[in-house]
């Protein structure tokens, strides 16, 4: 038995720690509130709710940014429903126009345009979030979870762009548990996870394993510090699969960091210098 799932009595503390950390950053840096890109999936719904609990509904803003033709209608409906339920301000803005503008100006570019455009979608959403944040002096609250961060399942400067990751230390399995605990609507919790970048996309199909398998493997590798072989033996999962996930973790370190600085001085800012994000 691994302790991936939270015990019932852990959930109130986990919720409190997350809410405290959101509130701390907002208050310390005098933000007026927070903005979240709300997709209608479980991660962003949970973060929106926890933010509203932490700093109040009147200071929490959600941006619902569908791509017409790609984003399922129910996602937008679920997102709107949640905002109404939480009594928070929200806006629905289609990202089709800016996407079209980029596409037409990049028409003559050679290369993997399609992949560029795929990643452009979360990047356009990021621009909206930061525009909104600047205009209203808000903190951008990210929605990445630990499973995604470990596997690098996110777009750099897209959905990974945020000021804080309040659920960044929770595996997807734990996100579901916490979402249920804070009463996120069942329709949202039970939904098949998707990055929503193309029609019918699901995380599990794209990654190649189910979250049940992924989280167990990651938990063994990261939390229990087992080797690839030990993890494979312990979970009775092929060594090939475990190694595949392990390699993804290592390969994606760059997504969990600020850009690497070439060291020249005695005090290189990403290597020799160690300041917390703090203000007094």
């Amino acid at each position: 038995m691994i302790e991936l799932e939270f015990k019932k009595e852990e959930l109130p503390l986990v919720k409190k720690a997350i809410c405290n950390s959101i509130r701390e950053r907002i208050e310390k840096f005098n933000f007026n509130g927070a903005v979240i890109n709300l997709s209608g999936g479980v991660d962003s719904s949970l973060v929106t709710k926890l933010t509203a609990v932490a700093i109040g509904n009147e200071r929490t803003y959600a941006l619902i940014l569908p791509e017409e033709g790609i984003t399922p209608k129910e996602d937008v409906e679920d997102a709107i429903k949640l905002c109404k339920e939480l009594n928070i301000s929200y806006e629905v803005i289609s990202i089709n126009d800016p996407l079209k503008a980029f596409e037409s100006s990049l028409r003559n570019l050679k290369g993997d345009i399609e992949w560029g455009i795929t990643n452009l979608k979360p990047r356009v959403r990021m621009i909206y979030a930061y525009f909104y944040a600047n205009a209203k002096k808000l903190l951008v609250v990210g929605t990445s979870n630990k499973t995604e961060l470990l596997l690098g399942y996110g777009t750099k400067y897209g959905d990974l762009a945020a000021d804080i990751y309040p659920i960044g230390d929770l595996y997807k399995t734990q996100v579901w548990q916490l979402a249920e605990y804070v009463s996120i609507p069942t329709d949202i919790v039970k939904k098949k996870p998707s990055a929503g970048l193309w029609k019918g996309q699901t995380d599990e199909e794209e990654i190649g394993y189910t979250y049940y398998q992924i989280d167990r493997v990651l938990f063994c590798l990261v939390e229990l510090e087992l080797s690839v072989r030990e993890t494979s033996d312990f979970l009775n999962i092929s060594e090939y699969a475990v190694n595949d996930l392990y390699e993804r973790i290592v390969k994606n370190e760059h997504k969990r960091r600020t850009p690497t600085i070439t060291k020249i001085s005695r005090m290189c800012l990403d290597k020799d210098w160690k300041y917390p994000v703090e203000r007094f």
Binding site: W273, E278, F280
Partner: protein, 278 residues
């Protein structure tokens, strides 16, 4: 029954906010005064706030000036304040000083600095090597700082030196199962040495790290008799029973049965382990 009234100021201190931390400590001191306590305790590095970062290096002098101001306000009872100490060589220590009647009457330097995972204390501090016990009135106390408690030896030394109570200052972050870890360690050390413990831990949140709070009083018999709030600031007043350990030790003879040969074996095994490492 001989008791000691102790005030545990479970503060949410902020790294580098020397002025703000000082205000919090002074406010807590005022409350302790009203409660007519005999001993007042803050968390680890309370003048500067705990939270691994180079800010420690920038603000040592400010923290020492702040300690001077705090010291001047302590007249009615003994107080243990966690702070950054600077020695004549310019080295820093993660220390706790014992203050009475506006004077520093004792000082303790953390002996087991933490340098794993998020902790980076050796980057800033020199480790202490002494395990004194201090007289406060008719009571002998030992002081430990956080990780010191996770090793069995420091508490054992203080118990053998006749401590009636061990006071632990902490800045322990919240993570899964941390609450149980502290409960277990404190209960175990109390049982090992048949001595009561009080633990005063930092609370609040800094840069994504939430501190556990959960200060507590564990009796000489290893029972948790009072706890502070989890994660949040709290003030806890406890009446420590100073006679229980003597009562228990009449029939629980473990401490007096401690054997020199075993301690010598321990040293020998330690030296062999050290040699193995090189």
């Amino acid at each position: 029954m001989k008791k000691l009234k102790v005030f545990l100021a479970q503060l949410s201190t902020k790294l580098g906010d020397v002025k703000g931390n000082e205000e919090k400590i002074l406010e807590a001191l005022e409350l302790a005064k009203k409660e007519r306590v005999s001993l007042f305790v803050t968390p680890e590095l309370s003048t500067l706030g705990y939270g691994s970062g180079d800010i420690y290096l920038d603000k040592v002098n400010e923290n020492l000036e702040s300690l001077e101001r705090i010291k001047a306000k302590i007249d009615d009872f003994y107080s243990i304040i966690g702070y950054v100490e600077k020695d004549s060589h310019g080295f820093f220590y993660n220390s706790a000083c014992l203050i009475s009647k506006k004077n520093i009457v004792g000082n303790y330097r953390k002996v087991q600095l933490v340098n794993y995972r998020l902790f980076d204390e050796k980057r800033y501090f020199k480790r202490g090597s002494k395990l004194p016990v201090f007289d406060i009135g008719n009571v002998k106390i030992g002081i430990l700082i956080c990780e010191d408690l996770w090793f069995p030896e420091p508490s054992r030394v203080m118990a053998l030196k006749g401590a009636d109570l061990i006071v632990v200052l902490g800045a322990s972050p919240f993570e899964r199962f941390k609450k149980e870890i502290w409960e277990n360690f404190l209960i175990q050390r109390a049982r090992d040495n048949i001595i009561p413990f009080v633990f005063c831990n930092q609370a609040g949140c800094q840069d994504g790290v939430t501190y556990l709070g959960y200060s507590m009083y564990v009796s000489a018999g290893g029972k948790i008799l009072k706890t502070g709030k989890l994660l949040e600031e709290d003030y806890i007043t406890v009446e420590v029973d100073l006679e229980e350990s003597k009562r228990l030790r009449r029939r629980d003879t473990r401490l007096r049965e401690l054997r020199r040969e075993i301690l010598e074996e321990l040293i020998k095994a330690y030296e062999e382990m050290e040699d193995d490492r090189t």
